[in-house]
């Protein structure tokens, strides 16, 4: 895909491990380059944020963003790895992508990841729960 080639030429030095498939590009990005890359994907080439996936691994907490370039039918997936599991924080992309407001709140709610700069960093799904479930999808969840 030309779009993948162009992206890797532009940001080759700012991205880490890459997994490329015919229509998917998964790549690791450091937090300091996240907003620059999101700005390029969303404002620069017109990607749409489908959603983001959080997962806890033994290395830390992972956030995988899924940006769809609809006109080409391909996905750019920047991956952020947060090694501090006790106090996970990452920059919010909501200032660039208003459509990320709910998914960042959901990741805060279920995984305990704080998004710095989010306009309303509070629970999304468990806001009205009678008892606070306290990050229910984490491995070592504290009761």
């Amino acid at each position: 895909m030309d779009e993948f080639k162009q992206f890797r030429e532009l940001f080759g030095t700012k991205i880490g491990q890459v997994i490329q498939k015919p229509r998917r590009l998964f790549f690791v990005v450091k937090e300091e380059h996240l907003l620059e890359i999101v700005k390029y994907l969303f404002d620069g080439i017109g990607c749409r944020l489908s959603t983001a996936t959080a997962q806890e691994t033994y290395h830390g907490l992972e956030i995988l963003y899924h940006f769809s370039l609809d006109k080409a039918g391909i996905y750019f997936c920047p991956r952020i790895v947060i090694s501090d599991k006790q106090n996970p924080k990452v920059l919010s992309i909501t200032a660039l992508v208003p459509g990320a407001v709910w998914i960042e709140r959901e990741m805060f709610d279920l995984w305990g990841i704080e998004f710095v700069g989010h306009p309303r960093m509070e629970q999304l799904l468990t806001l009205n729960s009678p008892e606070n479930p306290n990050q229910p999808l984490r491995f070592g969840r504290q009761a």
Partner: protein, 395 residues
């Protein structure tokens, strides 16, 4: 007078499911809207990670009663994306056939509800009357009117008997005639136009900013459709038009859906004709899923359904992410409801065809002592009712 708040929900006659909206109003005009979700407790993502890949397909079929083909189809696309699994040609046509039948019945369901919401019950009865033959087609093909159980990794579970195709085509002729009639009626009807034109407008720039999908995006001039953008199954083998309008109001959302139903009928007809001649297997034997990650999506009636699956080489997904279209469409109410009269809010909310049980697919509830609540939903319901009673009556 400013600063007044009007609650809508969480249980409201015009919301089919539980959801809470808080309207901030200045007189009759809505100046802001807040939304609270989390009123239903599902846990599909978590449960899926305890199931095998095949069981997960059945599980995600239960996320939504209306999109009960879209979720399994996106799920198998995600699993197939991990290993680039090929699908037999006959299975590709069957998948497309079932997916488009779902679109027809979903759009007719919404059309009926929309008519009912604005007090136009003739439209409601028409739409639901003509939805019935679509469900009969489903029953003939899969044995079920809902939850068809057709999708498998590598193909489909059940073949379409060539002997029933002539009968299905007859039913389709009847639906086609009625849809043409409804389309003409909807486009010319002064009642619908006077009630819906210019109501709840979602501008194109707001649609892009909120990343909305499906008819909600296409009614606002955003030309996105997974069937065209990343054609899977037989979508690159059939002819159909992508319906895109530009005004973004409730009327355009209605017209998009009505015209899409006609396009879906065209696709169904092409698939049925092909199934008369295209033979071969319907399922490739997939023995294992290698470690890796895959993205699958499908254009559900409400928009793109997104599934992400990560495999570690065992027979279970280690991570299964599901994003339903309503999850991105509902927050766009912030843009479409501001500045409209209170009386227009409910039809504006209904115009994105929100599915709240899809939206809340992720939650796993445990209490403070790590005991899972999901095993005792009655207790959860009682606890919540008691809490609401305490808040209202102070006891």
């Amino acid at each position: 007078m400013t600063g007044n708040k009007i609650p809508v929900g969480p249980f409201h006659p015009l919301l089919e499911e539980a959801e809470y909206f808080e309207l901030k109003v200045d007189g009759e005009t809505v100046v802001d809207i807040d939304m609270e979700i989390g009123w239903m407790h599902r846990g599909h993502e978590y449960i899926s990670e305890q199931k095998t890949f095949t069981q997960s397909i059945y599980l995600v079929e239960r996320i939504c009663g209306i999109c009960s083909t879209s979720h399994p189809l996106a799920c198998v696309h995600a699993i197939e994306d991990i290993d680039n699994i090929e699908i037999p040609l006959r299975a590709r046509y069957i998948r497309t056939l079932v997916g488009e039948l779902e679109r027809v019945h979903s759009h007719l369901l919404w059309l009926g509800l929309a008519g009912h919401f604005i007090g136009y019950d003739t439209l409601w009865m028409w739409a639901w009357k003509y939805r019935e033959p679509t469900l009969q087609m489903f029953e003939a093909i899969s044995g079920n009117r809902n939850h068809y159980g057709m999708m498998r990794v590598g193909g489909v579970a059940k073949d379409v008997d060539p002997a029933i195709i002539p009968d299905l085509l007859k039913i389709l002729d009847e639906i086609d005639r009625k849809m043409e009639m409804i389309a003409k009626a909807a486009k010319d009807d002064p009642v619908l136009k006077s009630r819906l034109v210019g109501v709840g407008v979602l501008k194109k720039e707001d649609a892009i900013a909120h990343c909305v999908v499906g008819p909600t995006a296409r009614a606002s001039g955003v030309a996105i459709d997974v069937r065209k953008d990343e054609p899977t199954d037989a979508y690159d083998l059939v002819n159909f038009n992508e319906i895109v309008l530009k005004n973004g109001d409730v009327y355009d959302k209605l017209v998009v859906r009505v015209l899409e139903t006609i396009e879906s009928n065209k696709i169904i007809r092409q698939c049925l004709e092909k199934l008369k001649t295209v033979g071969g297997p319907i399922l490739n034997n997939v023995k294992e899923i290698t470690p890796g990650e895959g993205i699958g999506r499908y254009e559900a009636p409400r928009g793109e359904v997104f599934h992400y699956i990560r495999s570690d080489g065992t027979n279970r997904p280690v991570r299964h992410k599901v994003r339903a279209p309503s999850y991105v469409n509902i927050p766009s109410f912030v843009a479409s409801c501001k500045g409209i009269p209170v009386a227009d809010v409910l039809i504006t909310l209904a115009a994105v065809d929100p599915c709240y049980c899809c939206t809340e697919r992720a939650l796993r509830v445990v209490d403070a002592h790590d005991r899972p609540f999901e095993l005792d939903l009655q207790r959860l319901s009682r606890t919540k009712t008691e809490q609401i009673r305490r808040e209202i009556y102070g006891k």
